[in-house]
Amino acid sequence: MNKRLINILVPLISIVLGLIIGAIVMAASGFNPIDGYAALWNGIFMDSYTLGETVRQITPYVFSGLAVAFAFRTGLFNIGVEGQLIMGWLAAAYVGQAFELPAIIHLPLALIAAAVAGALWAFIPGLLKAKLQVHEVIVTIMLNYTALHVANALIDVISGGGERTEKIHATASLRSEFFQSITDYSRLHWGFVLALIAVMVMWFILEKTTRGYELKAVGFNKHASQYAGMNVSKNIILAMVISGAFAGLGGAMEALGTFENMTKLHASTGIGFDGIAVALLGANQPFGVLLGAILFGSLKYGGLNMPSEAGVPTEIVSIVIALIIFFVASGYVIRLALERLSKRKEVK
């Protein structure tokens, strides 16, 4: 068995194992796992409306997955995607409702605002890591909670004491009547095209540019990179900022497409944390992230159908996702088993 095949098999086997244990958990809690997974399947594929909503759900997952993966590839662990996404969401929602501009300027402006907001929020841990060697994991986690409270306070200010910002102007919206007409009025919007472009952009930056090469080199070995004349702190900060920009754009998908405003959040959106799972399953490769986002976005949206159709709490989906991460992270064992298996075949 060659290495490439094993690299593909490990995530696939992890997914299957995750689903099997999910089924065991359901059975142990007194549910019928087949009903549960049927409800999940229907929640993803039932009709054109659910399909449209599933794609809609996948879109921000692509961005959060790219954000985590980009940081991973450059040797950083950005758990702060959640907070950066919230800041991006708020910035896009604000620009969308505060200005009146022609669509050709308004929409890009709102997207840029989101990217900048996410990038700035990620700049803080990047700077602390580069200049003071503070580990980015704790800082980004703390910034997630900070973002939540700050965003809620700002929504308060923007809306004059209300619970949500005003609806964005049509000129900043990503929604399209065409998509609504073919998906039975789902909230499917143009964002998925932007997500595909973002996948290409990340691939291009990392694989085809000198800057991308430097970013990866610093992630691999700081000291060697410095010896080779690269500016280590600049590259660490830049990696964090680009990662944060992806996360901010993920927030823009919610602001300009899904909700067209921002409501005060009582807890994290979860999109940022699931981004870690997406990136890991996709082996931190841009196209892998796309596949990971399709899987986890579908599971998350389909899972919402489980309580009503099968009575299973929707948290089972998060349990399955967490298990899949465990299995992918422990890929060493699966790899070992596969190698043993293939060797035995060769002997025969």
Partner: protein, 319 residues
């Protein structure tokens, strides 16, 4: 309210909020000293909180006053169970420790909310009736000024937390077990060569952290929150990890840092009833614990303090 009255008010609540952090931070000291990073402490605290609350609600009639204490033990067992997953993944299966810790957090939260929904058909439990009670420590509480600050209306859990920190200090610095633990975290190959079982030491350290994290969550739930929902534990586990780092991986340092973060948390909750502070917009009080954590990490720690092998799986025969 005079300055002294403010102190009488804020110091007991700081200690009150610090107790769960102290417990969990000490757990963090154990695993990190053995070379395993446990980001999953947040998830462990969540499971500890949920299991203690469920136990408390179910058995309050039978056990009466003892219920919260037995709840602590239940939470400890569930904490150990959850941390065992991390131990297997990170020690035996060589998984990335941070990634599996993050997965543990997801699993802990989803599992706890799933169970609560299964049992109560809603995402949030009712409030418990049997909470930890407060008492005055005899003699000590009669000392002027200090007595009223530290020894009046004390929770037994706070005393337990401080005791655990001191015991942990003794175990880690004064016993053969502690020496081996530190050796495994600094240079596992050298320890292995000297006949220390690296895998076993790391397993024990992770399980100890699970036990203490579970207890920490249970203290938070049964003394502070009083019920369990998805947002009952919001970052306390991470704060405990920060306290451990801030305390330079030393039990007494972690104790001090946890008290500091407890103070920040207390201020964000009771600040609205203290003169001057109540004029500050809420949002600043809400973000205070998190921002202080970041500032503490940025401002006060040197670089070379982490146990050397922390975060690195030990693979026999690999140089």
């Amino acid at each position: 309210m005079s300055f002294l009255e403010v102190l009488y008010f804020i110091i007991p609540s700081a200690i009150f909020y610090a107790a769960p952090l102290i417990m969990t931070a000490i757990g963090g000291v154990f695993t990190e000293r053995s070379g395993v990073v446990n980001i999953g402490l947040e998830g462990i605290m969540i499971v500890g909180a949920a299991s203690s609350i469920i136990f408390n609600l179910t058995f309050a009639d039978q056990f009466g006053d003892a219920t919260p204490w037995i709840g602590l033990i239940v939470a400890m067992l569930f904490g150990i169970l959850l941390s065992a997953i991390l131990a297997v993944a990170a020690v035996s299966l060589r998984a990335d420790q941070t990634v599996s810790g993050v997965a543990l957090n997801m699993l802990g939260l989803a599992g706890a909310v799933f169970t609560v929904k299964m049992i109560y058909d809603k995402g949030q439990t009712d409030s418990i009736t049997e909470r930890f009670s407060r008492f005055d420590i005899p003699l000590l509480s009669d000392i002027p000024v200090i007595g009223k600050m530290f020894f009046v209306d004390v929770y037994a859990t706070s005393i337990l937390a401080v005791a655990v920190a001191i015991i942990a200090w003794f175990i880690i610095t004064k016993t053969p077990f502690g020496l081996r633990l530190r050796a495994v975290g600094e240079h596992p190959m050298a320890a292995d060569t000297m006949g220390v079982n690296v895998t076993k030491m790391r397993y024990m350290a992770v399980l100890i952290s699970g036990a203490l994290g579970g207890i920490g969550g249970a203290i938070y739930a049964q003394a502070i929150a009083g019920n369990f929902g998805a947002s009952t534990i919001s970052g306390q586990g991470f704060m405990a990890i920060a306290a451990m780092i801030f305390g330079k991986w030393h039990p007494i340092g972690a104790l001090g840092a946890a008290l500091f973060f407890g103070f920040a948390q207390a201020l964000s909750v009771v600040g609205s009833s203290i003169p001057y502070i109540k004029d500050v917009p809420d949002v600043f009080l809400h973000i205070l614990p998190y921002v202080l954590t970041i500032l503490a990490l940025a401002g006060f720690i040197g670089k070379a303090n982490a146990p050397k092998a922390s975060g690195v799986p030990y693979i026999k025969g690999k140089r």
